[in-house]
């Protein structure tokens, strides 16, 4: 299945070969961005973010504009027709009639897949509910490939809220398309990966270890992917206070890691990575965000023009 006119709903809808095809287009675009500056001239993307987002929304808008395309953006829910009581279905129908592709984020699980059913034009899921964020996984995998020259055979640590964090869950599922040496799932007990994610890892034959402490595996890791543990996820605030130190990455912790360990983060970061880490050799999250624009450029071009 090619990319042309394809909905991008879950990383699980893709095969490894398809992601590799995408990555080769990203490589090409990075080498010579100006050659693609009018690739999507005459195309219009609608961004519909029912949940607050800066990074992903701007990343997609930047990607579209850099390819010579145009963007319309649905206002925040409070200022849009949703506030007047319009349902999701009608909103999607309207955006579909106006644009060539819809980039959507919504807090409801499965909303992107439903939007893709309603819309005739392709829909890109920019995060729905707690489950899927496929383009984040694509850019995370691409970043690893760029920095390490491979995705297979590496030890990964995924740190943070693995239960509700859709970026972490999507990356874990995306890694299962490749052959990681091992994935360390580092989280508080109460925020471990959901059963279906664990089941998917097992069915894919991926070696994984669940642990509560970064210190236990830091020396093994080639890639450390940090996400935030949100205070509001804990029913008991004292439990949060007790564990929060274990989920805050500092230079002290990193010193026990490999020389060429890379630290990634989907951003925005709050306080889960100490600012002192930013200037270290490990920190690659701002490069990751930059590469994300190229990944989305390649994706938009493949979807709209093939």
């Amino acid at each position: 299945m090619g990319f042309r006119n394809r909905d991008i709903i879950s990383i699980l809808d893709f095969r490894r070969e398809e992601l590799e095809e995408l990555f080769s287009v990203v490589d090409e675009m990075r080498k010579n961005p100006s050659a693609h500056s009018s690739a999507l001239s005459g195309y219009l993307m609608a961004t519909a973010f029912f949940e607050p987002s800066t990074r992903t929304r701007l990343s997609f808008q930047t990607a579209m504009l850099r390819l010579g395309g145009s963007v319309i953006d649905m206002a925040e829910v409070q200022r849009s027709s949703i506030a007047k009581g319009e349902n999701f279905t009608d909103t999607i129908r309207m955006l579909d009639a106006y644009s060539d592709v819809i980039a959507i984020r919504h807090k409801i699980d499965g909303s992107a897949r439903y939007a893709a059913e309603i819309a005739e034009n392709p829909v890109i899921n920019c995060g729905d509910g707690k489950k899927n964020h496929p383009t984040q996984a694509m850019l995370d995998l691409y970043t690893v490939k760029t920095l390490k020259n491979r995705i297979d055979g590496l030890n990964y640590g995924i740190l943070g809220d693995l239960k509700y964090g859709r970026a972490a869950a999507s990356l874990i599922l995306g890694l299962a398309l490749f052959r990681p040496e091992r994935i360390y799932l580092i989280s508080p007990e109460s925020l471990r990966v959901r059963p279906e994610v664990r089941e998917h890892l097992e069915n894919s034959g991926v070696d994984y270890v669940e642990t509560t402490r970064i210190e236990d595996c830091i020396s093994e890791l080639d890639v450390l992917y940090v996400t935030r543990v949100q205070k509001e996820r804990f029913p008991d605030p004292s439990e949060y206070e007790r564990v929060k130190g274990s989920y805050r990455l500092t230079l002290d912790i990193l010193r026990a890691g490999k020389e060429d360990l890379v630290v990634l983060h989907p951003l925005p970061r709050v306080d889960e990575i100490d600012f002192k880490v930013d200037d270290s050799k490990y920190a690659k999250y701002f490069l990751q965000a930059k590469l994300g624009v190229f990944v989305r450029m390649a994706l938009l071009k493949l979807i709209l023009r093939g």
């Binding site: 349902n87 279905t89 699980d109 499965g110 439903y114 509910g129 707690k130 489950k131 279906e196």
Partner: protein, 157 residues
Amino acid sequence: MEEELLIRKIREGTVIDHIPAGRALKVLSIIGLTGGEGMVIALVMNAPSQKLGRKDLVKIEGRFLAPREVDKIALIAPSATINVIRDYKVASKRKVELPDVIKGLLKCPNPDCVTNQPGEPIDSLFKTISRSPLRLVCQYCGEAVSEEEVMGLLTKG
């Protein structure tokens, strides 16, 4: 058959046989029969069965099942057979079969699933991943449903 000694034949209607023991009342409930409708209903529970060891059986006079009702029965009584009776004779007999895709029969247990949002014209949609043990997965949010959960999730009507 043992149950023939207990209950008489029906003239027109439906016999639901080979229901797993103990589930006959649930079967009646999901097809909306409470006993207050006035039709003759015969119920045998925990009867000996060569195939199942023990089984339940239901006879309903003057009532035939819609395909949607048969699909619902398949969800909670996958071994059941449906006999259509006309003029005291078995006019047709078939085993229930759980479809690969189940649309609009079950409510997704995930309250945050798009199919549970008010004001949206959308039916639930489950894919049958496994028949024994029963395992269904919501095609929108990915939530899995087991056999024990199904009964509480069946939609009305």
